[in-house]
Subunit: 417 residues, 2 copies
């Protein structure tokens, strides 16, 4: 175990900024990075980031287990990515049209992702999933889309997690099935009356606040066969998991190819980019839809994507993340047993997910996360965490020092399960 | 008149990239920056940008009258903006949470835009308009939104300009009125049966391919009164025009305040940022909707926005754009008369819009744009152009040298009207 870092972390600047934010931002903050519902030790505002480490606005340093909720896959400020961006930025970024690197980025994605024959770029993961649905609808002339109940596919009205501001018509064409349950998909298809344009699915079940669930290969094959039978597009939402599980499409190891896939987050190591990829038979339909954005042709994020995707392979980023994630999982498993606190760790080790038993209100998770932050580790109480290729065994030691404090705090404040 | 620039511009690299793009991008390119339907002299791919000038991938230099379709308002690579971005980038960009500059950017927008008490940031103009509608729906508990027929409010299914990939339900809650025609708005309200959450309107009518039309102050006041009467939100879509007409909300000079406004494009001088602004009475509703994006809390575009909005005022960007736009408009007016080619120039001079008489198929506009590109000026044949504060009187001379060649080419190839 490494030394326990400074526990008397002040949060004066963070508190002052939160106060100012409450005056000019609804609720003080919004979206997935709002710290409103998080333990008070968890910072809201950050000063800087380097490798696997982040500093809050009060200068407190942390090992970053969130990686900006996924985008940072090689570590913050990875030299090759930053050099590629600096070179492009000196030339131009949001220009009168795309730069050559847009074509190169599309070629690289088509090369790396087996099912993909083409790419369209956008900014948000939500853009990418929405484009996939539009392409599927344009290709099939049908309206309905089936999604797994509880899955997150973005924050547009058709998919966001709260219904405020959403009309019934926004959801009228979405049917729901149960992940890994082909009978439920067949039932949803029947309910849609044959009007199914697409079935959208995550590479694994990664609903926030729940145990994660790897896809059953048989379910994936049945989905593919079902889509072929009814003439619907199979869409994989790779936004959260893409390039963390596999150096290509996440279902390539199980031999199931989608027709369309949605990407974002990690493909540019933090630079804002999303991509919809598709097979050749959907290219004509993709050329008919009209989607665009003022910044979709920005050159720097595409230069970042080329550097990032290249480095993921060249630097063995995935084996590194698996190694670090495995060390972390086994260390946490031992600590939980030592503390007498039953937990479940589920999903791929690169995207750690910890649930306390008997913790439906996340009271234990909240104390755990707060204590971890107080001891220098940023980890979310409800959402899965993210390993990057910049995390080292030394970082694992530091994380485990903090998680041990987390287990102790849970034990002390809430007792055993 | 300045010298006519090199007319024997090669497009070898551009042609090669277009060929490669056709293999990996549907239709070869998509969205508003596709050159597919543009004259062959108009480049698709760009190498670099500086001030009011851009260079295509073959090294040909142009005066840029498109400003990336609006984002570039101070000129490409404005020193103060680039310095602010470089300083923030050295610290962190897409981090574990927002940086302090998010609060500062929100405070600055609230200070500059009279109606705004709060800000929420996103990436796309489409995000900002969609957030405004969601907030209005959450606040009113109603579903319907009225928009001007033909107005562009983004490329989500509820508003994109083509219906491929769009379901009837995506448009079920949108009613349409005629810009500057309050009777048509009253009619649309009646058709909506009282379920109107919001009326969305552009600061002026800037539909691509049509004459532009300034808002009639009386229409703006009637819209405000109508929204107050029926309890709907008045939403101004400032995405295209924001900060080019006024150093604050575009309707402040006529004394009409919206409840919500959508911003993007120019607020970060090319860095990817959008913002929904609102009045205090909509803050609670805004805090209830769930909208977010992986890159919405990126620090660099917020640092860019602070530098941009500050420089717009400090450097007198709007008077500069008005001066340059006025010079250009009067020069073009004289040339058209000399060439015996009737034209109409409409809308604010900072966002020039030229239509040839008797040119419904844009044949004249196309020849004009092609000849301008061949003589070193990027201007779109259908969409309005954009002046930046970096354009000089010398640039106007160069533009006019190219537009004169444009008028000559129209006259030669298509004759007079």
């Amino acid at each position: 175990m490494t030394k326990v870092v400074n526990q008397s972390r002040t949060r004066v600047m963070d508190a002052a900024l939160r106060e100012r934010a409450r005056s000019v931002i609804p609720g003080g903050m919004y979206g997935h990075l709002s710290a409103n519902a998080l333990p008070p030790e968890y910072p809201q505002f950050y000063q800087r980031s380097q490798g696997a480490h982040v500093w809050d606005v009060d200068g407190n340093e942390y090992v970053d287990l969130m990686c900006s909720f996924g985008p940072v896959i090689l570590g913050h400020q990875h030299p090759k990515v930053e050099r590629a961006v600096a070179a492009q930025l000196a030339e131009g970024d949001t220009q009168a049209g795309p730069a050559a690197c847009m074509v190169e980025a599309a070629e690289l994605l088509v090369d790396r992702v087996a099912h993909a024959d083409w790419a369209m770029f956008a900014k948000n993961g939500t853009d990418a999933t929405t484009i996939c649905l539009m392409v599927a609808r344009a290709a099939t002339g049908r309206n309905k889309v089936l999604a797994a109940a509880g899955a997150y596919h973005g924050s547009a009205p058709w998919c966001t997690i709260r219904l405020d501001g959403v009309t019934p018509e926004d959801r009228a064409n979405i049917g729901y099935y149960v992940y890994n349950d082909i009978a439920s998909v067949e039932k949803a298809v029947a309910e849609a009356g044959g009007d199914v344009a697409a079935i959208i699915v995550s590479p694994f079940k990664h609903d926030a606040g729940f145990d994660q669930e790897l896809v059953e290969p048989e379910f994936a094959r049945q989905l593919r066969a079902l889509c072929d039978r009814i003439g619907a597009a199979l869409v994989i939402d790779e936004v959260r998991a893409g390039f963390r599980l596999n150096d290509g499409g996440s279902w390539e190891p199980i031999g199931v190819a989608p027709d369309l896939s949605a990407w974002s987050k990690a493909i540019g190591n933090g630079y804002p980019l999303a991509a919809a990829l598709g097979s050749a038979s959907y290219s004509e339909a993709a050329s008919r839809i009209f989607v665009t954005g003022s910044f979709w042709f920005q050159a720097c994020p595409m230069a970042a994507a080329i550097a990032t995707i290249t480095a993921i392979r060249e630097e063995g980023a995935i084996p590194t993340m698996v190694h670090i994630g495995t060390l972390l999982r086994s260390g946490i498993e031992r600590q939980a047993a030592d503390a007498g606190l039953p937990i479940r760790q589920t999903g791929p080790v690169q995207m750690p997910n910890l649930k306390f038993e008997d913790d439906d209100d996340f009271a234990r998770a909240r104390v755990f996360s707060g204590a971890a932050a107080a001891h220098g580790v940023i980890l979310h109480p409800r959402h899965n965490w993210f390993i990057s290729a910049a995390h080292t065994e030394h970082d694992v030691d530091r994380i485990l020092a903090a998680t041990w404090e987390g287990f102790r705090a849970v034990r002390k404040q809430l007792g055993g399960s």
